[in-house]
């Protein structure tokens, strides 16, 4: 499998994402600069974390208008698996590929720590390596991770199995105390309608090596590598 990692000015998890992808796929991903108007033929696209354009205007707002994003949107709409992590999630909502918005954390603080997530849907090409209901530990590192959508959208996401992960207590309960940023319904990640686009605030690429202190991100990369074959 060949993946592309999109790089914006201010991206800072692009290299980590590339290392995690190469570990899972055996191939170096293409690093694609935001000014490119074409994407190489790839099986998967990753929009990494960071602070593209310094979070000017709104986190992800400027990056969503980058030349390369027109091509990302076109490929994602064609069904090429697309994963947005942290700032990548913000960019995907700003680009209209995912519903809702990521707002300032309810506690106003930048949060950087491992969190427990419950896998809500394991029947997707991103999450097939997990069991439904499994608790995984992945770090978050963000200032604007407070997921907001109107109640109808939240109902639709819940009803259609489009919530990928929820912030939970170690017991698996999605409590207010374990919601790090005030997200609606403790939502940490969501899918698009076809479940080929995933946006998530936690960083699976930062839990992809035992030296990171955890490896719960690896099954996502390997599931993606196994599933994404038919596009390149």
């Amino acid at each position: 499998m060949k993946a592309a990692v999109i790089v914006f000015p201010g991206s800072n998890c692009d290299r980590d994402a590339a290392v995690a992808l190469e570990q899972a796929t055996g191939r170096k991903p293409a690093m694609v600069w935001h000014r490119e108007t074409e994407l190489p033929r790839v099986d998967a696209i990753v929009i990494p974390g960071g602070f593209s354009y310094g979070d000017y205007l709104r986190a992800g707002a400027m990056a969503a208008q980058s030349p390369v994003m027109r091509e990302v949107v076109a490929q994602a709409e064609r069904g090429v698996p697309t994963l947005g992590i942290c700032n990548g999630f913000q960019i995907l909502t700003e680009a209209g590929l995912l519903p809702g918005a990521l707002m300032r954390n309810a506690g106003l603080k930048f949060i950087c720590r491992p969190v427990d997530l419950r896998v809500e849907n394991s029947q997707t090409l991103f999450t097939a390596g997990y069991e439904a209901g499994q608790i995984i530990r992945i770090p978050v590192a963000h200032h604007d991770g407070n997921y907001f959508a109107d109640p109808e959208t939240i109902d639709r996401l819940n009803g259609d199995g489009r919530v990928a992960f929820r912030y939970v207590a170690p017991s698996g309960e999605p409590t207010d105390a374990d919601n790090p940023n005030g997200s609606c319904d403790n939502i940490a990640g969501i899918f698009n309608e076809t479940k080929t686009v995933l946006g998530m605030m936690p960083h699976p690429e930062r839990a992809a090596d035992a030296r990171h202190g955890g490896t719960d991100g690896i099954p996502m990369m390997t599931a993606l590598a196994a599933a994404a074959g038919g596009f390149a």
Binding site: L57, A61, Q65, T93, G100, A101, R104, L108, N146, F148
Partner: protein, 80 residues
């Protein structure tokens, strides 16, 4: 022509920054503030001289970039 765009959070969208500002005002002794909502102002210098056309341009800019209509409202004020 100048367009001044006021971007505010929609009703019902929580504004943690506004809340923090209210608490800070309270700490300064301003006890009569029951709510604070924080927004932003964007000022545009437009080549367009016709107010109707200028407003239409600003509208499109708001929809496409300046505001996120999932969470924000915008108001356009034109100045000759």
């Amino acid at each position: 022509m100048k367009a001044r765009i006021h971007i505010t959070l929609k009703k019902g969208v929580l504004d943690p920054q506004g809340k923090a500002i209210r608490h800070a005002l309270e700490a300064l002794g301003f006890l009569g503030v029951t709510d604070v909502r924080q927004g932003k102002v964007v000022e545009l210098e437009l080549v367009e001289e016709d107010p109707t056309a200028a407003r239409a341009q600003a509208e499109e800019m708001c929809r496409k970039l300046l505001a996120n209509t999932v969470i924000e409202n915008y108001e356009i004020e034109l100045e000759a």
